[in-house]
């Protein structure tokens, strides 16, 4: 083998290794699946409450979303504890994943506090607008982390979440709007989370 072909061989080898590091699978599938399931369940319960099938008065909304927050945080802590060290945790996609999703949670929490304060002060209720804000931040997180990790399904889910912003807004006066939102959360967050979980590398020894 001459020097030039040895150099080409070396370059092909290092490219393959560098790409395998840069495009490591996302390892946050369990968190996406968990929160996607909870959000879908929460919006389904919201649909039943809004249409009077469950609960009486505004207390039911506090029960639904209070349970959501408690279950969500408890599940998050359990899932984080059960997850061993994973190959690819240092990739750009996985490094970006945590702060991006934390920013999403912060943005949605800020919106929830804002609309709750507005309702308390003026009685003006705009709780429905939390949904498009949530889908907008899901879209950003999914597209950014999906692109960095080269996970096409996550990028597609991001476009789906972006489409849900407009779809929910168009149906915001429809009595079934929260069922549409629940289906959207299941398809754009829970489902890709489960798919990522299946492809996730095993914990390292």
């Amino acid at each position: 083998m001459n020097q030039a072909s040895a150099a080409s061989d070396d370059l092909a080898y290092v490219r393959q290794l560098a790409e395998s590091g840069a495009r490591a699978p996302l390892i946050g599938g369990r968190f996406m699946a968990w929160w996607g399931f909870l959000v879908a369940a929460g919006w389904t319960a919201q649909h039943l409450a809004v249409n009077g099938t469950i609960g009486d008065g505004n207390v039911i909304f506090g029960i639904i979303w209070g349970s959501f927050a408690i279950l969500g945080m408890a599940g998050q802590a359990l899932l984080a504890r059960s997850m061993g060290p994973k190959a690819g945790a240092g990739s750009a996609g996985n490094l970006a994943s945590r702060p991006v999703w934390a920013a999403c949670a912060l943005t949605i929490t800020s919106m929830v506090i804002g609309v709750a304060l507005l309702a308390q002060q003026s009685g003006y209720q705009v709780f429905d607008w939390i949904v498009p804000v949530a889908f907008a931040v899901y879209a950003c997180a999914l597209i950014v982390t999906g692109r960095l990790a080269g996970e096409r399904i996550v990028v597609l889910a991001g476009y789906g979440a972006a489409a849900m912003v407009g779809l929910f807004t168009a149906f915001i006066l429809d009595p079934n709007r929260y069922l549409i939102a629940a289906a959207g959360a299941a398809v754009t967050v829970m489902l890709p989370g489960l798919l990522l979980l299946r492809r996730e590398p095993l914990a390292e020894e």
């Binding site: 030039a4 790409e19 061993g84 990739s91």
Partner: protein, 104 residues
Amino acid sequence: MGEVSPFDHNAIDDVIHGRIRLGVVAYLSAVDSALFSELRDKVGATDGNLSAHLRKLEEAGYVGVEKNFVNRKPQTRLSLTPAGRKAWTTWLAQIEKLRDAAGQ
């Protein structure tokens, strides 16, 4: 008289030119850090072999090693230092020159 080749084989950094060390540096160049076992699987080396190569890279100041315990298990995490990143880009530039020289 032909052109002088831009390739200088003395400029090739022997510390990273070996196949396993090259693999380690290439992989670490694409991630923030990696676990020992992750690197071992990627470059296809045994534990002992990889340890020996990592020691050379660490001695050259190209790789940083961080040892700690996670869930009461020892864990070794490795990352490329700024000197290692510079050595890596220099190696890539030299290999490109070699290819260019061969193409002349």
